[in-house]
């Protein structure tokens, strides 16, 4: 069973000619089939965790370990991590000029699966996945994220999640900027992948709204670069009612 183990992870970033520590010792284990929600106020380091796991060059790992099924993730390049089974659905997916969605998806699937998918079944697979996400077929001919609305970008991320079938999926604020309809479509997509039981999900969010659609097994409160409280789904209800105030005032500097 696939397991992602994060131990005492410390991460810094260079900003304004100074080195700033963003993650200050994160411990978390995500197993296949589990869904963990990471919730926290803005600036607590949630997205840094997501991008550090994916290997974004902006972030420097200064301490700790990340293992995926015992393999050292931090030693891997960005593409190796993806091929090892890590997937990051980005909060702000970038435009890639000149590359169509269909070409992108096929190239990506070929890289992840280690061989080009058979064209006939692949076309069908993509078409059906797009239908489930209420995406128009013409979408495949557009350039990656170019001119996409906020909702289209997120659907496109979840489309990739469905097609690439990672071991561990990190969803970085996939709910932000979505209206209720888009949120439901996107959440259904995530749930389809979760229901296979094959993926461990790390759901990073600022709001509890998405948790009405995607029920987490564990909820972690993130503040000032580390997990300050962990619990079950009921912790989300508490956050819904009380907000992050208790964590940003007391728990942080302690």
């Amino acid at each position: 069973m696939a397991t992602l183990e994060i131990r005492d992870l410390h991460v810094t970033v260079e900003a304004d000619n100074a080195t700033k520590e963003i993650l200050k010792g994160v411990d978390l284990t995500v197993k296949q089939g589990e869904t963990h929600a990471i919730m926290g106020p803005n600036g607590s380091g949630k997205s840094t965790l997501a991008y550090s796991l994916a290997g974004h060059p902006k972030y420097t790992i200064t301490g700790g370990t990340v293992l995926l099924d015992g393999e050292d993730v931090l030693e891997m390049s960005v593409d190796e991590r993806a091929r090892a089974g890590l997937f990051l659905a980005m909060q702000y997916p970038v435009e890639v000029p000149g590359v169509s969605v269909s070409n992108f998806l096929r190239t990506s699937a070929t890289a992840i699966r280690g061989e080009a998918p058979k064209l006939r079944t692949w076309v069908k697979e993509v078409k059906e996945a797009m239908q489930r996400l209420n995406m128009d077929p013409s979408f495949a001919e557009r350039n990656v994220n170019e001119g996409f609305s906020g909702g289209e970008k997120k659907r496109h991320e979840i489309l990739q999640l469905e097609l690439l079938k990672p071991k561990v999926a990190i969803l970085d604020e996939t709910d932000s900027g979505l209206d209720v309809d888009a949120l439901r479509v996107v959440s259904e997509g995530v749930n389809r992948v979760r229901e296979t039981g094959e993926v461990g999900t790390l759901l990073i969010t600022h709001y509890t709204r998405i948790l009405r659609y995607i029920k987490p097994d564990f909820v972690h409160v993130f503040s000032a670069g580390r997990i300050v409280e962990s619990g079950g789904a009921e912790l989300a209800d508490k956050l819904e009612n009380e907000g992050y105030e208790a964590y940003t005032k007391g728990g942080v500097s302690a």
Partner: protein, 393 residues
């Protein structure tokens, strides 16, 4: 790619639509067109037409110090049956009919060539195989003139390949009879040291179609000047260009479409990718719609993709309209860059860095390559683009 977004440091994207009583395209040249090199002052580099060009790398083509070296250039022509291939002297009446040199190097070429090539496709002859002209530089300096003339309703594809090392100044004339169809593919696949400066003059007959595909990969300095004029109404010109500018290379494409005749069309699409320190691409797109050219339909576009730091693009579209009675006129220029965030996004989907770059560049050129409409050329171009990418990483 969004218009004029993501403009990298060191690039300029300027454009203008001028409504003028007198052509600024003509007036901003330092001298009127002439076949005689003596009519042009030696450029010093600040002239409008020379300001982007590294004169010191032209190996004397611009100041009269370059001298032809007997056998520095080999030209091999393969033509299907029915085509006449001749080598003629300077006094041949068919030379210089499609246009007059507009700058000093073109005039130098016209003043200095000894023999010219003339290829003629007789009227109503429709070729099924291309005419192939292989120009191979063997380290020498050469001045050349080539004429390709199609009679009325003739149809031909001409592929001109430039390889090897040379210092070459040339004029190429394309003369299209009424209703003729000519596609010319000019590939500049020179070695790294070559210098190539040429003016291409197309004279498009009534209801004739001219398609020019300019592909520049190699050379130290390549400066090409494709120009189009119309000899009758209903003419169409499509000018496509593709360049891949590597570290230290200067590749300059200056175009002029002179709508001097009513009811003609033109469409210009040039796309370039740049990579490496000192890579410099220049694109000047001049379109002039003269007062008498009612019913003109024209569009020009330049796109650049900057793959690394240290590369520079100067892209200047210029549309000049002297009559309002036209079907359409437009232009666009944009320079974007393939940046670290795009690379991260693709790699985060399992795609290795090199393949990610290849994906982006092939995608960028694909649309243009498809418009060329010649299968074997398309295939070759895509292969060549891959080669360029592999050589660089």
């Amino acid at each position: 790619m969004a218009e004029a977004q993501n403009i990298p440091v060191g690039s300029t994207t300027a454009g203008q639509i001028a409504v003028a009583a007198e052509s600024t395209v003509a007036t901003r040249m330092s001298a009127p067109p002439s076949f005689d090199v003596a009519d042009f002052p030696v450029p010093h580099g600040r002239e409008e037409e020379w300001r982007f060009t590294p004169l010191e790398r032209l190996r004397g083509l611009h100041d009269g110090t370059a001298a032809a070296t007997g056998d520095g250039l080999k030209v091999d022509v393969q033509a299907p049956e029915g085509v006449t291939v001749e080598t003629v002297g300077r006094d041949d009446a068919r030379l210089g009919k499609a246009g007059t040199p507009v700058d000093r190097v073109a005039a130098q070429a016209y003043s200095a060539f000894e023999k010219a090539g003339v290829i003629t496709v007789p009227k109503e002859t429709v070729l099924t195989e291309p005419i192939r002209i292989a120009v191979h530089g063997e380290g020498g300096t050469a001045f050349a003139h080539q004429v390709i003339e199609l009679g009325a309703f003739a149809e031909a594809v001409v592929v001109i390949d430039h390889t090897g090392d040379a210092v070459l100044a040339a004029n190429v004339d394309y003369i299209l009879g009424d209703g003729a169809k000519l596609t010319v593919v000019s590939v500049q696949d020179w070695d790294d040291k070559a210098v190539h400066v040429a003016q291409h003059n197309a004279l498009v007959g009534r209801d004739a179609s001219f398609k020019s595909v300019v592909v520049t990969f190699g050379g130290d300095v390549v400066r090409l000047h494709p120009r189009v004029q119309y000899a009758g109404t209903g003419g169409e010109a499509e000018l496509f260009g593709l360049y891949f500018t590597d570290a230290g290379q200067h590749q300059e494409h200056r175009l002029l479409v002179d709508h001097n005749t009513p009811h003609c069309k033109s469409n210009v699409v040039y796309k370039g990718a740049l990579q490496g320190e000192g890579a410099h691409a220049v694109w000047i797109g001049d379109v002039l719609i003269e007062a008498k050219a009612e019913g003109t339909d024209t569009y020009e576009m330049n796109r650049n993709l900057v793959l690394t730091d240290g590369a520079r693009v100067d892209s200047v579209p210029n549309l000049e309209i002297e009559t309002g009675e036209i079907v359409g006129a437009g232009h666009a220029s944009a320079t974007g860059r393939f940046d670290d965030e795009q690379l991260f996004y693709l790699m985060a989907r399992g795609i290795p860095a090199e393949e990610a770059r290849r994906l982006v560049v092939r995608g960028f050129f694909a649309e243009l390559v498809q418009q060329i409409g010649l299968d074997d050329i398309e295939e070759r171009l895509l292969e060549k683009i891959d080669e360029e990418l592999e050589a660089s990483v």
